[in-house]
């Protein structure tokens, strides 16, 4: 097939964190990279993010957290996806994440973590390299 699937990604803000400037900028960068980006808005629960991601059939969920609750919220999203038998949505995270937490999050299925200073181009490249629209 010459026709290629379009990459669909979700940018989500779990928890009570009220800052989404970063998430919006990343959504915009993803759009400019040619992805279809579903943005959930603020104050989402892991459950509402997972249900929305399934309805939207996205290939990637990008979680943003600047409020320190990432150690609960991020793994919870992965856990709920697995419970629903979803194993083809890549979960990544970004925000104010202490170095010590990164390996712990990765051990729980968050594939990559982006911290302050991460460049938009690098993130887009990472997605293009590591996330493929699902086949079949």
């Amino acid at each position: 097939m010459v026709r290629e699937r379009k990459l669909r990604v979700m940018v989500a803000k779990p928890g009570l964190d009220g800052h989404d400037r970063g998430a919006r900028i990343i959504a915009r960068a993803f759009r400019d990279a040619g992805f279809e980006v579903v943005y959930t808005g603020l104050h989402q629960t892991p459950d509402s993010i997972v249900k929305a991601a399934i309805q939207e059939d996205v290939d990637l969920i990008g979680l943003s957290s600047l409020a320190g609750a990432h150690m609960y919220l991020f793994p919870e999203v992965v856990k709920l996806l697995r419970e629903k038998g979803v194993d083809d949505i890549v979960v990544v995270g970004g925000g104010i994440i202490p170095d010590d937490d990164i390996s712990k999050l990765k051990a729980q299925g968050i594939v990559e973590i982006f911290t302050p200073g991460a460049k938009l181009d690098d993130m887009v490249d990472w997605v293009k390299t590591n996330v493929k629209p699902r086949s079949g």
Binding site: M1, V2, R3, R5, K6, R8, A27, R28, F30, R31, D32, A33, G34, F35, E36, V37, V38, Y39, T40, G41, Q44, T45, D47, S48, K51, A52, I54, Q55, E56, D57, K84, V86, P133
Partner: protein, 321 residues
């Protein structure tokens, strides 16, 4: 019957979500599923919501979903946002206003991007409506900006079309007058607490009446409602008016109903042939490299685009005979 068909009819969210993606991505195998599903469609009531960006479409849809859920009805929402003509990407943000329904299994919300020139938006949206219909949704709400032929076509596949404006949008009403005003069954002036709501009401009334000056017995005259969707004001009235329009459609004479159905099928079928033809021909030209070859030739100034088009297309058309 394939397992995908069975799962859609059983209301399996994951299967439905993936099927809509396949429709959007134009995966060939999807046609067989749609063929089998068609027999299970025709039960849902389809409502189109259209209006300029910022008039409050998503907020209104969110409230409508809330009301329908209280009535015990299940709802599907298709929210269409524009694809960037530069990058091919899109930000689909309509969900932001509707996320409170994401935990409700009686609601299925899907964001769609317009996907640009070969997108066939009306075609894929119509197929997505069929899927949600077969899934068993009682109401399907399609939300679009309503600009351009493609989006007017989408709106036409709704049984009741609601057009939203806000006060002070005089010029915008002029802009939507051509094409979209004619397809409106109900008009909503949202943010009606703002200055100029009465003036907008009068302007709209005049414009709609101009389009309906021929007297016809039993003809539907599009009502204009005022609403403040964010406070849930006017939403009950809107739903009542939608039901009135629905019973009006049912009360129409058999002859008229058949005529309208034929008209719709004629348009849908023509659209289907058109988008399928473009897809098949273009796919083949891309596969063989003929298309890229022609692009190079025209860009290098060796050929004019009209000749290039003839050279690409005529052999394919001859093969059709």
């Amino acid at each position: 019957m394939s397992s995908a068909v069975e799962k859609v009819i059983a209301g399996d969210v994951r299967t439905v979500a993936r099927l809509i993606r396949d429709i959007d991505d134009k995966i060939p195998g999807v046609r067989d599923v749609l063929k089998a599903l068609y027999a299970h469609t025709g039960k849902a009531y389809v409502i189109g919501i259209t209006g300029a960006p910022g008039v409050g479409k998503s907020t209104l849809v969110d409230q409508m979903v809330n009301h329908y859920r209280k009535q015990g009805k299940s709802v599907g929402v298709l929210a269409v946002d524009p694809t960037s003509p530069f990058s091919g990407g899109a930000i689909l943000g309509d969900r932001i206003r509707m996320q409170r329904h994401s935990l409700d299994d009686g609601v299925f919300i899907r964001s769609l991007a317009t996907r640009g020139h070969f997108g066939g938006l009306s075609q894929s949206t119509r197929s997505a409506i069929d899927v949600l219909d077969a899934m068993g949704k009682d109401y399907i709400i399609v939300e679009t900006v309503g600009v351009g032929q493609d989006e007017v076509d989408v709106v036409k596949s709704a049984q009741t079309t609601v057009i939203m404006v806000i006060p002070g949008m005089g010029d915008d009403i002029q802009a939507i007058k051509a094409g979209i005003l004619e397809v409106g069954d109900i008009f909503v002036i949202n943010k009606a607490d703002r200055e100029g709501a009465d003036k907008t009401f009068n302007e709209l009334r005049q414009m709609i009446d101009m389009g309906h000056n021929r007297y016809e017995e039993g003809k539907w005259k599009p009502p204009i409602l005022k609403a403040e969707a964010v406070f849930d004001r006017g939403v009950t009235e809107l739903l009542e008016t939608i039901e009135k329009h629905r019973s009006h459609l049912f009360s129409e004479s058999r002859g008229k109903t058949v005529r309208k159905k034929k008209e719709r099928v004629r348009e849908e079928l023509a659209e289907m042939i058109k988008s399928r033809l473009i897809q098949e021909v273009l796919d083949r030209l891309l596969e063989t490299g003929e298309f890229d070859g022609a692009v190079d030739a025209v860009a290098a100034g060796e050929k004019d685009p009209y000749t290039a088009c003839d050279d690409l297309l005529l052999p394919k058309l001859r093969a059709l005979k």
